[in-house]
Amino acid sequence: MKQRSRIADGPAGIWFLGLAMLVWGVIEPCVAPAVSWAQHGPHAGQPAGVAVGQPAVAFHLKTLEGDAIALDTFRGRPLVINFFASWCDPCREEMPVIKELAAKGARGGYSVVGIAVEDGRAAVTQYASEARLSFPIALDSSSAVKRAYRIFGPPATFFIDAQGTIRDAVIGPITAERARLAMQRAGALR
């Protein structure tokens, strides 16, 4: 009796703890999957997103011809990066806009680079020839650059100013009008 009363009025907190553990024992198996999902949740452990106003993420790739190409290659002048794929219909539909930007690049003092993602060298080479793409095209075989720019898939176009800061980004197909606005923001159209 003495002991029981001590248990009752002494370490009540311990019994409460035991009860709480007991309750948790019942609940935990039910909620465990949700906890594990949360650990796999959006952007867990990922770097902050690429955004307008942030520095463009550096990349080092090879062109279709095998030459090294990097973000630094274009430092000092505005740059348009177009992520595309040969199998991507919207990419094909927007490509005339990108080609036009590229055609005016030399005169306008800016550069255009295409980064082919989730695609093969032969298919991209064939497409580049068929579409007569004259700007440098890099192959992002591992998807590392695509992931660094945090895009779900092509097409996506980033507009970077001469200081290497992202000034605009169009996720999805781009129109000529939208491109003009983006170019102004990147300081490529004066």
Binding site: Q3, R6, I7, G10, P11, I14, W15, L17, G18, L19, M21, L22, W24, G25, V26, E28, P29, A32, P33, S36, W37, H40, G41, P42, H43, A44, G45, Q46, L64, E65, G66, S86, W87, C88, D89, P90, E93, G120, R121, A123, T125, Q126, Y127, A128, S129, E130, R132, S134, S141, S142, S143, A144, R147, R150, F152, G153, P155, I171, G172, P173
Partner: protein, 448 residues
């Protein structure tokens, strides 16, 4: 250090209470064990990685299926050894650049295994021509006659190499170890891709593809063709669905002795909302009813090359999995739902795995004879590499297993496919590093 008797008694009481609490907890956990997936159903213990295909020919885009005789079949694509393997680049003064074009010529290969994928037959080439067989979401598909003869469909780009203006090819085993000459199923040139093929319980075959014969920049249509039991008679293709996403794989399933056919696809509304839908045919696939939305995800963006997967169980439940970006980045992930009323409605979607980063994911499922649903998909791991994950759901429709990562790719493991027998679950996928790829398969025995 001295401890007074009262404190010692108190300490004993505390210890006793703590031990009691722990024992109670242990008891509860023991009682709760039937709720736990691992104890009730068993973790899937996957065996070692097996590689399929010839390593120096960049195997990719596998498809797995169990034949009626129980053999495991794999189809995949490889570089054609008779075709040039790499494009050459030459300068051209008339343009800034000029490329000497070489297509990525590939072959469709088929092999089978009687022991669950340990020992395979020598691969047999399916396609007769040298052509640029497509892969990824366009992987070759196999179906079997009741006596085990393989029918195969695949996609090839247009003569100009345009993958979005493609053609659907078909060949079948001719009974002497080879395949019939490839034949094109779409009557209108350069309009068909993403073919699928399933055998109906009436022993005819239905093939379906995404069709762009009306070449508007808007959405596409689904066309079907019925192939006779011996593979010779092929019906003219006919339209069964409109306003569908132009690059997201389809799935077909049969019930009711083939009279009822289900079709799932990603639908595109006039507002460019891209939800997944199910269509039902009650006349064996001749006509289909209005689409039923599986989940109002509200995804409003361009084509991801990621389609839904569907399977029916013995109760007639329709299980579906798909990837969506939803209405915001936070919603993006692989989802699952089930229809328990023959496709009239679907349960609220359940998240299978959230996107760990912006990335298009690809998901498949298979349903066992006991109603257990097995899902496989790709997602990025903590290091930003694409890996293959699996999890299962008990036939109660609520108990999910933990997520298992079954690939250890150094760069990318993508687009898993499944095959399920009563004894084993097989998962295959394409793994790649740089411009090199290979096909990996792992097998897990199923706990009885």
């Amino acid at each position: 250090m001295m401890i007074c008797p009262e404190r010692r008694r108190k300490g004993r009481t505390i210890s006793l209470a703590a031990i009691t609490g722990c024992l109670a907890l242990a008891g509860v956990i023991a009682l709760a064990v039937p709720l736990d997936w691992a104890s009730a159903f068993g973790d899937l213990a996957f065996g070692p990685e097996l590689r399929i295909g010839q390593a120096d020919r960049n195997p990719s885009s596998p498809f797995l299926r169990i034949a009626p005789n129980g053999r495991l079949y794999a189809a995949w694509t490889e570089s054609d050894p008779n075709a040039p393997s790499a494009p050459k680049v030459t300068a051209d003064p008339s343009h800034k650049k000029h490329w000497m074009i070489t297509f990525d010529m590939r072959v469709v290969l088929l092999a089978s295994s009687a022991d669950g994928g340990v020992v395979w037959t020598a691969p047999r080439r399916v396609n007769s021509a040298t052509e640029a067989v497509q892969g990824e979401e366009n992987e070759p598909r196999i179906a079997f006659t009741p006596d085990g003869k393989a029918f195969v469909v695949w996609s090839v780009p247009s003569e100009k190499g345009d993958k979005s203006r493609a053609n659907v090819r078909f060949a079948m085993e001719e009974g002497r170890g080879g395949f019939t000459p490839s034949r094109t199923l779409n009557e209108i040139k350069d309009t068909a891709r993403f073919p699928i093929l399933e055998r109906s319980p009436d022993n005819t075959f239905l093939t379906a593809w995404i069709d762009r014969r009306v070449d508007s920049p808007a959405s596409r249509a689904v066309y079907m063709s019925r192939i006779g039991p011996n593979g010779q008679e092929v019906s003219p293709s006919y339209k069964v669905a409109e306003d569908i996403c132009d690059c997201c794989r389809l799935e077909l399933a049969f019930t009711d002795k083939g009279r009822t056919v289900f079709l799932v696809n990603r639908q595109v509304t006039a507002e460019q909302i891209r939800n997944h839908v199910l269509r039902k045919s009650t006349d064996g696939g001749v006509t289909f009813g209005a689409p039923v939305t599986i989940s109002d995800d509200g995804w409003q963006t361009v084509c991801p090359h990621s389609g839904p997967a569907m399977a029916l169980d013995h109760r007639g439940y329709i299980h579906v999995t798909w990837f969506t970006m939803g209405r915001s980045l936070a919603e993006a992930g692989v989802y699952y739902s089930v229809s328990r009323d023959g496709g009239r409605s679907f349960a609220p979607r359940r998240l299978v795995h959230a996107n760990t980063a912006p990335e298009i994911l690809h998901t498949r499922l298979a349903v066992g004879s006991d109603g257990t649903v097995h899902l496989a998909w790709d997602n990025l791991d903590g290091a930003g590499k694409a890996q293959v994950f699996v999890r299962s759901m008990a036939s109660d429709g609520t108990t999910f297993s933990p997520i298992q990562q079954i690939s250890r790719a150094r760069e990318n493991a993508r687009r898993p496919v499944l095959a399920l027998s009563d004894r084993e679950l097989h998962v295959a996928w394409t793994e790649s590093e740089g411009e090199t790829s290979w096909v990996v398969m792992r097998t897990a025995p199923l706990k009885k």
